[in-house]
């Protein structure tokens, strides 16, 4: 019984060998396997780069620990010997990161990732799917919201602006609109960045209360008008534009007052709009 099975296995293996060995690459492409192989090499190429970064980072960690963190001297009133040193753990983590980097590097070289990396150094591929612009659009929205507006502009206004821009970028589902709106928003953000870098916002706010809030609000209105102009003449898109406008105002109107007045969370910047809310809130008492 057992022997029969074994024989069958061997037979199968032999037959498989016969099939696999002469398989031309063409055949693999047909079955879609080549794509997978390509992807894997592509991934290993990225792994190769990552592994080098990891090794470098691990070395940096160890060097930083050895030079910056005291291994023995008394610190913070605690007796300090090697085993209580704050450098103990970083050393271990850095060491392990280097080991993992080496393991990953080894694997990437075996699977041809390193070779691919060398090959690709000379020629560059172009992305044609438009996904890069989508990615950039998302990143621009997030980065501008968090780094540019929240620290300086009224929280309500920045949230409204962020929602409006984010939804209009992708809800219209038109790559050409995305390009135009992206450019429009990017230019606006760069202008404000310049303003903030020159510290002009503080001067303006000093001479007249909430000037920068007003400027950003004008930008917000301009964005609304621009997007309205874009969708002009298209019934479906007009409807979507309306939804966008509603969805940028309503969630902010629910979220922010409930945090401010119900949960008593102080918001990052309470500018013109939140002051307006305060006036309304305290007149009903």
């Amino acid at each position: 019984m057992m022997d029969d099975v074994l024989r069958a296995c061997r037979m199968q293996a032999r037959s498989m060998k016969r099939v696999i060995l002469p398989t031309p690459i063409l055949k693999l492409r047909e079955s879609g396997n080549l794509r997978k192989v390509m992807d894997k090499v592509q991934l290993r190429k990225k792994d190769f780069i990552t592994s080098i970064i990891l090794i470098a980072f691990g070395i940096f960690m160890i060097l930083y620990t050895l030079t910056e963190i005291p291994m023995k001297d008394s610190w913070g009133g605690v007796m300090n010997v090697w085993f209580v040193s704050p450098g103990l753990f970083p050393l271990g983590v850095g060491f392990l990161i280097i080991i993992m980097g080496i393991v990953l590097c080894n694997r990437a070289i075996k699977d041809g990732g390193a070779k691919k990396f060398m090959e690709d150094l000379s020629r560059r591929e172009k992305d044609t799917s438009g996904k890069t612009l989508r990615l950039l659009g998302i990143l621009l929205v997030i980065v501008a919201y968090v780094y540019l507006y929240i620290p300086r502009i009224d929280y309500f206004l920045s949230t409204m602006l962020c929602l409006m821009v984010f939804i209009s970028f992708f809800y219209f589902d038109r790559p050409d609109f995305l390009k135009k709106l992206f450019t429009f928003y990017l230019v606006g953000c760069l202008l404000f960045l310049g303003l903030f870098l020159m510290k002009a916002d503080k001067q303006l706010n000093k001479s007249f209360l909430y000037t920068t809030d007003g400027l950003v609000f004008l930008f917000f209105l301009a964005f609304i008008v621009y997007s309205r102009v874009l969708v002009h003449g298209d019934g479906v898109l007009k409807k979507r534009w309306k939804t966008t406008l509603i969805m940028s105002i309503v969630p902010s109107l629910i979220l922010i007052p409930s945090f401010k007045y119900f949960l008593l969370v102080p918001l990052p910047v309470e500018g013109a709009f939140i002051e307006l809310m305060n006036i309304i809130r305290y007149s009903f008492r």
């Binding site: 991934l43 792994d47 990552t50 990891l54 960690m61 930083y64 910056e68 963190i69 005291p70 610190w75 913070g76 605690v78 007796m79 300090n80 010997v81 085993f83 209580v84 040193s85 704050p86 103990l88 753990f89 970083p90 983590v93 392990l96 990161i97 993992m100 393991v103 990953l104 996904k131 989508r134 990615l135 998302i138 990143l139 929205v141 997030i142 980065v143 919201y145 968090v146 780094y147 929240i150 949230t159 962020c162 929602l163 984010f166 939804i167 970028f169 992708f170 809800y171 589902d173 966008t244 969805m247 969630p251 902010s252 979220l255 945090f259 949960l263 008593l264 969370v265 102080p266 990052p268």
Partner: protein
């Protein structure tokens, strides 16, 4: 006699609370608010209890406890909504639920997954309550067995688990992700000697990285980017399953439920660590014990059930040391302690003498809260699945604003947002290269615990490693870790295979 008196107290409180319309409104209101809080990314149980503490100053102690426990139970349960529906865990406790909950939702089984989490959360809370009612003094004594030595092993154990949560690609990518998490945890002044590590003179980094912004960054931002960039539609429930408990599935996983509940209560009772670790350990244990560990991460019911039972059982566990020793067992319990102090109740060993009915009242409120959670859960789950019908280009921007306000609200620091974004972008690129993200978050949660306790333990023992092996609980933990490690090596598998073959032959 004491027990009879307690049971009497229990029923009296349950009835008085249940037949007071104000209390019922308060209970359901806070449970539903808790579920909403839990479901929203970044708004955790800790934050919810903390914010409500502010509002309970004016009301009676009993009503305050109803509000806060309702919030606590609701928020720990509600975390699963975000995990299952959008793959962004609402709370750190629900991060483990996302491992299997989201794949289930992608298969169109979001309704069933939510139903399972509702039932298992309910069972978990009840088990926790039962232990609080019956074994509180014993568990409190056991919790005192945990010193720095044991804490270190516990943290190490959690980090080991993270190594097993590998993604699709290479096995050790999980480890790399975990190590990056450990590095992130190192940033800031170390907690023992206050020495700044990797802060580069930026004083905002002195306090270290908070878990919530890292969690939101690591889970939320990659998900937002991926869904929008690749125009994914989140797995909409094709056919709606009933959210009522499916007893067949539940009874099939009864061992998982019991195991996870015990783990949850145990971890809850240990001071200082909470629902998040309970969920991960339950998940890891369920995976270890499962006959099909390869199905975990692809939508396994046991995965969802284990972590939800675990994290809710943790609540009862966390209240045990709070009430008996005055030591909060989890971060939300710290807030609960503050709330009790505001109401002039100081929890501790004298509590049962100063306020004889208080513990029983808490048990009764927990009992009612878990019922309220179950009922509101069943109603809400049906509505929550509908969220998936909102087109992603509208839904995801709103999720982003929630992520931002959530990361901000706990520490009220804008700097947390500055950290959230780079962590999110890093996580996005890591994910696209086949690295699992969960170990990174576990690393950030457990890194300080491992670091601090290892060094404190050595400080206590003056450099001797001996107590790691002479203390009974430490030794047990050590043996478990060793066994876990060996069972992952090929040598052990070969050995096991050999043994099996030999037995097979004899037959």
């Amino acid at each position: 006699m004491l027990i009879l008196e307690r049971i009497w107290d229990f029923y009296v409180t349950v009835f008085f609370t249940a037949f007071n319309i104000e209390n019922i409104i308060l209970l359901f209101g806070s449970v539903i608010l808790g579920i909403i809080f839990g479901a929203m990314p970044g708004l955790t149980a800790t934050l919810g209890v903390g914010l409500l503490t502010t509002l309970t100053y004016g009301i009676s102690t009993n009503a305050a406890m109803i509000t806060l426990l309702g919030m606590y139970v609701g928020a720990v349960y509600g975390g699963s909504y975000g995990s299952i529906c959008v793959n962004i865990p609402g709370t750190a406790a629900a991060a483990a639920t996302a491992m299997d909950g989201y794949p289930l939702a992608c298969k169109g089984e979001a309704g069933r997954a939510l139903g399972l989490t509702t039932t298992s959360s309910f069972i978990g809370t009840m088990v926790g309550m039962f232990f609080l009612a019956v074994f509180a003094p014993i568990i409190a004594t056991l919790a005192l067995q945990f010193t720095s030595f044991e804490f270190f092993f516990l943290a190490f154990f959690g980090i080991m688990i993270s190594g097993g949560l590998t993604g699709q690609d290479l096995v050790y990518k999980g480890w790399i992700s975990g190590l990056i998490g450990l590095f992130l945890a190192l940033i800031g002044r170390d907690h023992l000697q206050f020495f700044p590590r990797f802060t580069f003179g930026i004083s905002e980094l002195d306090g270290g990285l908070e878990v919530v912004p890292v969690l939101i960054g690591a889970f939320g931002i990659p998900q937002i980017i991926q869904v929008i960039r690749d125009q994914l539609s989140i797995g909409e429930a094709k056919k709606f399953q009933r959210v009522l408990p499916e007893l067949k599935i539940i009874s099939k996983h009864i061992t998982t439920i019991v195991r996870s509940a015990l783990i949850g209560v145990g971890i809850g009772a240990v001071p200082g660590i909470g629902e998040d670790i309970a969920a991960w350990v339950s998940y890891g244990a369920a995976k270890k014990a499962s006959k099909h560990p390869e199905n975990f991460g692809k939508g396994e019911y046991a995965g969802v059930i284990s972590c939800e039972t675990g994290n809710n059982a943790c609540i009862g566990g966390a209240i045990i040391p709070l009430l008996t020793l005055g030591i909060p067992g989890s971060p939300p319990a710290v807030m609960l302690l503050g709330a009790l102090m505001i109401h002039n109740v100081t929890p501790g060993p004298m509590l049962s003498i100063e306020h004889p009915h208080f513990i029983t009242e808490m048990i009764a409120i927990l009992f009612l809260a878990s019922f309220a959670m179950f009922i509101s859960g069943i109603f809400l789950a049906k509505q929550v699945v509908k969220v998936l019908r909102i087109p992603p280009p509208i839904f995801m921007p709103v999720v982003l604003t929630l992520c931002v306000i959530g990361s901000y609200a706990l520490g009220t620091k804008v700097f947390n947002l500055y950290l959230m974004v780079p962590v999110g972008i890093l996580a996005y690129f890591m994910q696209s290269m086949g690295y699992p993200i969960a170990p990174l978050v576990i690393g950030v949660i457990l890194g300080p615990m491992a670091d601090e306790n290892l060094r404190r333990a050595l400080m206590v023992s003056q450099g001797s490693f001996l107590p790691f092996f002479t203390r009974p609980v430490a030794l047990i933990l050590f043996l478990v870790i060793v066994w876990m490690f060996i069972s992952q090596t090929p040598f052990y598998k070969r050995f096991l295979g050999g043994v099996k073959a030999r037995i097979f032959k004899q037959e």
